[in-house]
Symmetry: C2
Subunit: 741 residues, 2 copies
């Protein structure tokens, strides 16, 4: 192993230590007034109940999943259809099951720890807001960064560890074979992410809707009243969706993209090996090292989160983001220069590494573009949100129509940006002159892989900003509950508004990363299928010339599979949206019961049973996630088995396109509705005579309808689609042998 | 020409004569009370204004389009990239332009005449309703059938005429070349359909929304009050969207599918010719003959539209539909038996024709399945509509969420039905053993073509049922306006409810036909591209072995083009939805002006200027259709030119999948919202205590919001997407030479 690859475990361990340091720093801070402590305690209690129930279930599911996967792979992956024939049968089944479990465990661990810190940072942020805006930003951002660092570091160390274990400890495995053996890790991460995001997404919006309906509408008590046990579930829900859910989502992205890029790196390795370039295996290790530098850049950036009390807190966060980005450019340059050592080979006028460096820059730039696109479409200062606010004047119907039009519109820049990024990075890669023995250029696809890795370098920072969202949201709730002084609340309100933006940004980033991940994994799938087909041809069990050269849309089976893939996206979303309604019902029933059987609640003499509502909601959400989860897992398997390995690839790609676009519509539409309501509440909307149309007007009521509609779109269905898209990719990758015909 | 092909002109002329007979029959009927006549006159006046303005504009656009297409084709289609090299350059440019114009003119003619009869049938239906339900059904259905017969007959005669002209009159053109020369006809039909459907869709919903806002909300006069000049625009709008718009939509479907099937028939012709089967050219003429039998079946079915006064009018219509379907099965059997004469060749145990007969049956069955799927999802008696009505109890937000979930859900059966139909008909066709000289099976794709033709056999009847919708809707309006007696209104209400169902059915049918059409045209596009590439290879201007064997989704350009295609579907819908809002504003301004400047309107002493509102709305709608129209035409051209002929095929297919599914969501979601409102208005919703929640309740108000949201979805964006999907196909087919690289 080259010296530079030691940066992988080093950065991984450093990031974990840094996360522990941040956690200790946050936890050592004061928890504010006794009232704040009390509220914080309730949220913590609820969150603990959630974590216990949710992760017990997911853990059990993952265990069952690992056994099933192990058996299926061990049974199906005979010597004839194995990617690594020497390990065919039981060994590869066991290795895949172990990789699956390790992936699942790492994902769960980062989710659990992130949640635990997040629900302890909220009250400390509220307390810090009594003193200083900058301090509050720092506390919230450090609390969020614990999640960010853990997710990325555990995904990095997990992939590195299982790769090293499989390559180093098992005699027969070459460095070129090992990447294929670790795809189970990505599948494990996908599996956990699916349920974490679905369960979390259903939970958070069901709690929101259920608490409102039973408290405000039925019992006639104010929104966010502590007597309503559902309100704590709502506050817990923010963490569940945006911290645990998005964390699992991006854990999956980073792990799956990393493995996909390593598989694509094998083709470059073969070329480098044949050309006699030094360290050919560096082309396989490259993704790990790039990500390690991204982590280091993020650690440094945490020290730049500072500013003045009067400045827009978004600027403070942006400062750190730009530091991460700029340092990442440096890390990218260093990595490409050192690792892509081609003994001075020049291609199309430039050293090979420079072409890939540029490809990586495309990825970093894409991430920046997405951050700003999302801002344009969901922040109140621009046309889209204003348009929706204006439409609210003529009632809820025009609000919904306008928001739908905006949501649909956002697909344009999203698709064009992803398209340009793919074509540009592919072109840059193809200029590097990596042509294999069969005369195929493999640099183009590897260029898209490098771009994806470039984009992923900032993941830890993006995730920290994301978790900043629920922490500040909760801090606002804590300040409200504890009747903190106006100055404190003014600060938490400002932070909450920024948190809404950062949550939206992360979704945009997650969409872009999901689409790149899917394209990468799709390419890796084709490599894997051809490895298997090649082995079969070599064994004589298959006719020569039957490699998978193309996924042909003109083939009826591929077209139909694509149609099914695109349909799955809608059908899955339909189930997810419907699940919110059903789960909300279970909260309503329980809170009604508490009001009835615990009469002391109303006069504050009895404390509502918060944990019980949380537990019931969690259980209902977990039950409701079964149907969409099953559909998500079963459909690609059914299509693959019925229509074969080429058709399932068509399903994957068309499903990805459909999923990415529908997620864009749901996330951005939902975000824009949310902020149109906030725009009106902030007094920015006026009638023809110039009178402000604020809270309590019909226009505001119309905007509230839009906001409520957008909630399950942007927090349940949309984010779950990110996971679905990647799950389609990892399932097909792992189960490829099952689909070969 | 074989004897049986004479059935084509015979059936076409017979259908036109029959349409004239029906028109005379309807127009000879009484126009009711003087009040009815007065309202009918206003609608007619408005419709005439619309027809004049809209078709002047579309005609001018079509003329420009023809010239541009002629020049582009004449310039681009040099000998090197021509499908018929002997006609390269100016001749093929002129022939394409003429075909385009003929297609445009036939489409416009059927739209105009259909509209003229439709707006004269309404008042006669209202009058007949004073006497008898059955008579009213007959009048409305006969009025609607004028459209149905004209659309299908003109499309049949147009394709047949231009084909015969090009093949018979121009010496060098063989029967195998002629189908490629007439694709301009399909493009002309697409072009007109795009603007007819977009303009009509925008117009109808803008009139609806605008009239309501300015009348009910601002002026405080009841909905549908004759003093509101916008109300007549609204009644005109029903005809514009559902009669003229859907007519152009299905004109395009039938024409484009017919041409696509003929192009695919060329491959079968080559095989039949080589095998020495009698009448090989029958494989090319087959689609025309099948459609001719469909027309004849529909003529017979018109005599079965009878029943009792007490029966559900839907049953009366269904009777005719089943007669059409059963007679079509007979026609299909006869045609396949006579035309697919393979001198007794048996393939896989059955005569060749039997396999294709079965494939045609699959198409007919698909059309039946779609009729019932739509009924399930949009009729009040089933779960989806009830679910939305129940959700209305908790307000507009839950109504919208529930309707969205239902809309998303409907994609599942739609996609599965289309998928099963494609795979089944492809499999059946592949059993027929049509293998060409290169060893490729061409029977499979031809099987899907036959299925599509089978589905199209019932188009005239379906369109008659569709136009039944606006006629009965208008009849209801006329009865209301003229204060007809309760019995009459009770009958028109029943007919109106049935009309809502038939309108929804037609959309489901149009979606299924659009997706089959697109797949057919896509296959035809590949044939055409390979014809050109083959000529280039033969000329030596292209390397051997570079035929378009696959549209490879794993290719970055194809993937990106697919992404852009799917995005286009959303972006186009966004523009269409937004256009409704803008156009509604122009109605509001004009009606306000009339109220202000014509004070006599309010006390009935002055007649509002209905024609002016219609004209202004028409002009605004036409202006607003420019942006989506331009985007629809420009995007495939830009993608084709930038990314090449393979990528644009990817765009076409993924765009088709995305378009079909989004149209399904919009049409069925909108239909379900509409009927949820009607379900509540009919007193079917009760609260927990069993009290009816009808008109005037909060639940009803919530359902009205859903209905309003659904309006531009189901009547503007959704139907326009059908046209978009087919336009993508015809544009790529016509401009293929431009995209070859």
């Amino acid at each position: 192993m080259e010296l530079i690859t030691w940066v992988v475990p080093a950065a991984g361990v450093a990031a974990i230590l840094f996360a522990l340091y941040l956690a200790r720093d946050v936890l050592s801070r004061d928890t504010g007034t006794p009232e704040m402590e009390a509220v914080g305690g309730m949220i913590r209690e609820g969150a603990d109940a959630f974590v216990r129930r949710q992760y017990t279930t997911i853990g059990a599911l993952a265990l069952v999943g690992a056994v099933v996967i192990g058996l299926v792979i061990g049974f199906v992956e005979t010597r004839d259809v194995a990617d690594v024939p020497d390990l065919a049968g039981a060994p590869i089944g066991i290795m895949t099951a172990i990789a699956f479990l390790v992936g699942a465990i790492c994902s769960m661990a980062s989710g659990i720890i992130g949640m635990l810190v997040s629900v302890r940072s909220n009250v400390r942020t509220a307390s810090a807001a009594r003193r200083s805006l900058v301090e509050a930003v720092q506390v919230a951002m450090r609390g969020g960064a614990v999640s960010g660092f853990l997710v990325v570091a555990l995904s990095l160390l997990g992939v590195w560890g299982i790769f090293t274990a499989y390559e180093g400890l098992i005699g027969d495995v070459t460095v070129a074979e090992a990447p294929f053996l670790i795809v189970g890790f990505g599948f494990g991460a996908s599996f956990v992410a699916l349920f974490a995001q679905l369960g979390g997404g259903i939970y958070t919006k069901a709690a929101d809707v259920g608490a409102d309906l039973v408290g405000k509408v039925e019992a006639g008590i104010p929104e966010d009243d502590p007597r309503n046990a559902g309100v704590i579930a709502d506050l817990v829900g923010d963490n569940v969706g945006d911290c645990a859910g998005r964390g699992a989502d991006l854990f999956e992205s980073t792990a799956a993209e990393n493995i996909g890029a390593m598989i694509l790196g094998v083709a470059a390795f073969v070329i480098a090996d044949a050309a006699g370039w030094p360290n050919p295996e560096a082309w396989i290790f490259f993704p790990l090292v790039v990500r390690a530098f991204g982590l280091l850049a993020t650690i440094v950036a945490m020290f730049f989160i500072r500013g003045s009390e009067t400045e827009n807190p978004m600027n403070i966060l942006n400062r750190g983001y730009w530091v991460t980005t700029i340092l990442s450019v440096g890390g990218l340059g260093l990595t490409t220069f050192v690792m892509m050592d081609t003994a001075g080979t020049i291609s199309n006028g430039l050293p090979v590494w420079v072409w890939f460096f540029f490809a990586g820059i495309v990825g970093l730039a894409t991430s920046v573009v997405f951050v700003y696109i999302t801002q344009y479409y969901t922040a109140g200062s621009y046309r889209p949100v204003r348009e929706i606010a204006e439409a609210s004047k003529t009632g809820p119907a025009t609000n919904i129509i306008s928001g739908t039009a905006v949501g649909f519109e956002t697909t344009a820049v999203t698709a064009i940006t992803i398209g340009v990024a793919l074509i540009a990075s592919h072109w840059l890669g193809s200029q590097a002159g990596l042509v294999n023995a069969a005369g195929h250029d493999v640099g183009g696809i590897f260029g898209t892989a490098v771009a994806t890795m470039g984009m992923l370098m900032t993941t830890a920072y993006i995730l920290a900003m994301d978790t900043f969202g629920p922490i500040t949201d909760n801090a606002g709730g804590v300040a409200e509950f504890s009747r903190a002084e106006a100055k404190t609340r003014e600060i938490t309100d400002r932070l909450d508004a920024v948190g809404n933006t950062t949550k939206a940004l992360t979704k945009g980033y997650a969409i872009a990363s999901a689409s790149l991940a899917a394209f990468l994994l799709f390419s890796a799938y084709i490599d894997k299928v051809n490895l298997i087909l090649g082995n079969q041809i070599a064994n004589g069990t298959r006719a020569a010339g039957t490699l998978l050269e193309a996924v042909n849309l003109a083939d009826v089976s591929v077209f139909v599979a694509g149609l099914i893939g695109a349909m799955l996206v809608y059908f899955f979303s339909s189930l997810a949206i419907r699940a919110v309604g059903v789960t909300a019902q279970s909260i309503i029933v329980e809170v009604r019961r508490q009001f009835r059987e615990m009469p002391g609640i109303m006069d504050y003499s009895q404390r509502p049973d918060y944990a019980r509502v949380v537990d019931i909601t969690t259980r209902a959400a977990l039950r409701q996630m079964v149907a969409p989860g099953l559909v998500a897992v079963a459909t690609p398997i059914a299509v693959g088995v019925l229509l074969g390995h080429e058709a399932v690839a068509g399903m994957l790609m068309v499903g990805t396109i459909a999923g990415v676009l529908l997620a864009t519509v749901l996330n951005n539409g939902g975000g824009a509705w949310d902020n149109a309501k906030k725009y009106i509440e902030a007094g920015n909307l006026t009638d023809d005579a110039g009178n402000v149309l604020g809270k309590g007007t019909d226009a505001h009521a119309a905007a509230v309808v839009g906001d409520t509609v957008g909630d399950p779109f942007k927090d349940t269905a949309g984010p779950s689609l990110h996971v679905l898209v990647k799950l389609l990719a990892t399932i097909t990758l792992v189960l490829a042998p099952l689909f070969i015909r």
